[in-house]
Symmetry: D2
Subunit: 251 residues, 4 copies
Amino acid sequence: MESLEQMETVAQHLEGSSVQALRGGVYKPRTSPYAFQGMGEAGLDVLAQVRSHYNMPVVTEVMSIAQIEAIATHVDMLQVGSRNMQNFDLLKALGQAGKPILLKRGLAATIEEFVMAAEYVVSHGNPDVVLCERGIRSFDNYTRNVLDLAAVVALKQITHLPVIVDPSHAVGKRELVAPLAKAAVACGADGLIIECHPEPEKSVSDARQALSLEDMVSLVDSLKPVALAVGRTISEIKGVGFKPTPICCVA
Amino acid sequence: MESLEQMETVAQHLEGSSVQALRGGVYKPRTSPYAFQGMGEAGLDVLAQVRSHYNMPVVTEVMSIAQIEAIATHVDMLQVGSRNMQNFDLLKALGQAGKPILLKRGLAATIEEFVMAAEYVVSHGNPDVVLCERGIRSFDNYTRNVLDLAAVVALKQITHLPVIVDPSHAVGKRELVAPLAKAAVACGADGLIIECHPEPEKSVSDARQALSLEDMVSLVDSLKPVALAVGRTISEIKGVGFKPTPICCVA
Amino acid sequence: MESLEQMETVAQHLEGSSVQALRGGVYKPRTSPYAFQGMGEAGLDVLAQVRSHYNMPVVTEVMSIAQIEAIATHVDMLQVGSRNMQNFDLLKALGQAGKPILLKRGLAATIEEFVMAAEYVVSHGNPDVVLCERGIRSFDNYTRNVLDLAAVVALKQITHLPVIVDPSHAVGKRELVAPLAKAAVACGADGLIIECHPEPEKSVSDARQALSLEDMVSLVDSLKPVALAVGRTISEIKGVGFKPTPICCVA
Amino acid sequence: MESLEQMETVAQHLEGSSVQALRGGVYKPRTSPYAFQGMGEAGLDVLAQVRSHYNMPVVTEVMSIAQIEAIATHVDMLQVGSRNMQNFDLLKALGQAGKPILLKRGLAATIEEFVMAAEYVVSHGNPDVVLCERGIRSFDNYTRNVLDLAAVVALKQITHLPVIVDPSHAVGKRELVAPLAKAAVACGADGLIIECHPEPEKSVSDARQALSLEDMVSLVDSLKPVALAVGRTISEIKGVGFKPTPICCVA
């Protein structure tokens, strides 16, 4: 998330589509302390404005206990990033956040560790945890990570939690995203998070992986027959206050 | 492959389905020299009988240059196993095998290495190479390997070769196979190899991953709407002499 | 760390050896919320008593910003565990902790990410960061992780920070620890953390990897000729208030 | 290996040192069929000349059953490369090679698979197998592979076979080689293979990892005190007909 204008453009373009919610990074976990760290509090305001203006739920990442209250006031869902999947004190505190939690799998977390991380949140009072497969570390740098769809199938079998997939961060190359989004739906995922941008090539971070808004809309449309083929539907429920309804699409 | 009776049972059960070919392991690459090494030459006879009796193409693994001629005489397609993906002398010799080659990805082969291994066969005279994604090594032993469907998408984009998927060996747990087979079709795979067995629990090797014959037929049927949803069809072309026709199913 | 008696036994046994400091887990990051979570605040008291009684520096893990002040008051060095290596808000806060930080490499962190994590602490005001290689995730479960001594060599070449090695957690099998400790010293490590226990088989966690106190003393003695062979010495500087002096041994 | 002149220069420079044997790649396994594939038969002649002229044992890689006889006639030890570690037909045939076998660990082979691969050679008649740890695939491309010295310790504990280490191929950066060679000796390795070249920067392959001949000699000298520190010695036994004597150094 870079500016209010940018988020307005995205929301305007996507509000007629099946995209159910918007994600915007306000606090960004960056490998280097010298890289762009996100818009911070000003970004929360942007999210709140777009949310109310377009009646569109928003999701953003929480990086520390101190941020929980402010973020939970403004957004519909709090994301825990991969690097914090086993930040157990944060997970415990999110048990009292009062909002659904989107928990991303750690960079090299086992399926058991992933489930147990969710259990930290649930056992501290918050049953609304959505698991997100986003690729695991491996040896081939053709893709940034390896998208592990077998984990999605396994998680659906061994937990009662919704499981969504983030193919954009998993592979880091936009030309691979659409086919993998279809694969995710075909194997039972309850939702998708797809990175998009009004002008992908100008994105401040992750330029190589974002879809254009046109490609985003067309991807979401192309998911509908795949969902039907496995006896499901892409959610058309819209509006603030949502619980992520399978199969949801988040931009 | 354990006996003629077993293969007859399989062929009889599957001949009315969309399964296009049968794979049977005659020479088995086993980690230990003391494990069951396959039926050997007697197995080739079994394959040849089933092939002619049911007019069903057969596929089997070749492990050394010395085996090529005998195997190529009896089967429709020669498989190179993961452990031999960079057995360059074998690959070169297969350039003259006169039959299509099914090349399985190495246990930890990069996408580039996989493509280059195929190039060893093609550049020595045999353009009919089918690439097979079968999972790569990773840190979580919940599944035996990690099925890398992004590799399937990438291989379709950077080569002209057919790409098929082996979810059974990738995950090693039968309850994960069907959803992943659908995912493979949804992301563009040209075929599937699925392990099945008349009595899965009694299988000599890999008992944990084989489907029953009933589940096999029902899986193949369930793939049809998924293929249609992405604008493709499961091949119904049958009979010895096949080139693997996308989207093919091999049992 | 399980009780005052246990820590007294350890300190008494090791105070005459070259072991320079003691580490005790007060807050334990555990995969499951239902596993033993450490002694908590009572444990800090135990550490403080042992520290003053034996004039022996102590190290313990900090898991959240809220714990920093209390821990920093009682111990000589604060450990950041692997799961928190990229808990950036914690790292920033530790820039103001006023005590040296022992930063463990993440489960699948690259060398660059590891260095950058240290940079979060240093750039926020605390130059005393010690890097700790403790094994990375890999495919073979013969050892728990793969000890990456090339990372030690690389880190010594590209940073000015001390680098120490934790072979116990890396491999998870006590019979592998001593030879790897020697290897660490031979390739230039500035210190070692070795897990030991008065009765290893009865350890509450990680029983399989702890050395007995006798083996610990004998290991530390055996490191001296290796250090000399590469032109270094095992530190004999003792007493509370230490900066970890290469080559230090922590139990 | 690029020419007779090159090998003469190497042999001349190293004959007075503790280097016990020379390795030269005659047949090179290359990822791409279009890359330099080695000198082939002409290279065997070069090896044979250098061997007899300098009374120095030589080692070279065998890639197929058809090459065994010719290679075994000219060299003192046959290397099986990582890509062929589970080329079971080659391993069986090497059971009758009549010369010691240097078996390199596969790119992602488990310790058990490595031991079992050796068992294929031993159970077919050849007890002289030397295991070589050469790094395994991992996620960080700072080093080419991750050198797994815990595997060396484990292999020494669970087999009776000599275990040597190839730090050059493991890390792919010459500045990391010497410290890791010392670490290998310190943890119990029975030998080392170090890549060197008269003009490292001009090497046809692997230029980034080869040591100069001066650095090679000085490295071997620096290993002696480390070996002594762990109660062992670098072998000074020289001459054709050798069995690799711990601790041996191969250039």
